[in-house]
Symmetry: C2
């Protein structure tokens, strides 16, 4: 999970694949869209096949099971092993702002948002997807950050950040709660950055 996709020089993903048969990629594109819109349980192989103008049996032929399609479709177009060190590298007193801005920038990019929305939508009702999300957040994000913190309660801090940012994304992009949904990204960065900063470097408790 979470590898950078090899975008082979050509035009962006839209319309049909040119080289080879392209069927496999067409199925993956349709699958990504379906899982994004309806989550794992709500998406169906037949519907994905229809969208890709392909026979449902082909989906099984390429990926075996529905879970197989999901796993293949979930490769993120960004790489936490690159981004997290970048955020950690700079001035620690502004890490909250950098992290909040990076998070919102990724979510504002519709193409990057897709797989994450798909994973969240799926994880809420599907236990396997929940495990994928848990492991992704824990290992790719939380563990990397926690390792670099020297504050007390280092293990609790990154999950608190995750809770704040995931909650924001959920209400803004999935539930579309106003006025959060149409707020300016920089307004939200400014509002949330101090929270993230405190969770990572500040005082957590009363005593």
């Amino acid at each position: 999970m979470a590898r950078v996709e090899a975008e082979p020089g050509g035009p962006r993903r839209s319309g049909r694949r040119p080289a080879g048969s392209g069927t496999r990629e067409a199925i993956l594109d349709a699958a990504r869209a379906a899982f994004t819109q309806r989550g794992y349980d709500g998406a169906s192989i037949r519907q994905i096949a229809r969208e890709a103008s392909v026979d449902p049996a082909l989906v099984h032929h390429y990926f075996g099971t529905k879970q197989g399609v999901f796993t293949e479709a979930m490769h993120f177009p960004f790489d936490p092993s690159v981004l997290v060190p970048e955020v950690l590298a700079g001035d620690r007193s502004q890490i909250g702002e950098r992290l909040a801005r990076l998070f919102l920038t990724i979510w504002e990019d519709e193409q990057a948002r897709g797989p994450i929305v798909a994973l969240i939508r799926s994880a809420v009702t599907n236990e396997q997807a929940a495990t994928m999300l848990r492991e992704f957040v824990s290992e790719a994000l939380v563990a990397r950050v926690a390792r670099e913190l020297d504050a007390p309660d280092a293990a609790l801090r990154p999950p608190l950040v995750a809770a704040q940012l995931v909650g924001l994304a959920l209400l803004r992009y999935v539930i579309k709660l106003e006025p959060l949904a149409s707020a300016d990204p920089e307004t939200l960065v400014a509002a949330v950055a101090p929270t993230v900063q405190r969770y990572l470097t500040g005082d957590l408790g009363p005593g």
Copy 2:
């Protein structure tokens, strides 16, 4: 939505209803459990009927459609029109702590948690449920609080609080991300209270 349930003096909800036929209540209990565990789309009338030891056709007889069952099952065991004024009434400089503690107290009560988890699980993939959640958060919670704030950006403040608290609940109770899931409630109250406080009464922006 969000009325207090009339608990008629007797024993707590477990086992079978004694008075009357009780079938209707048995169906609602089973429905609440099913929607809580699997969300709207994942729950089925047949499965609810099985759980209630009742014929599936009876469910339709009592509630018409699946949406009808859902709506009836979603009455919360707490009343925002009572709780919100209580939180707002006290010392404004400690409103963050009061709100965070109230929120976590409700979520720690498994019986109270059920319907909210059901609504969240459902809202993430079902548009009708998303509308219900949106309206509940907007009207029952956000609007009531925003009305009482005299700070600038009063409209944006309660949704920010909602994002923080919903995110916390999602990762702790639904996704069960450690160490958030097994953290002591008071630890979380202490961690989150200053955030809530700042969103409601503090400085939101950089300028």
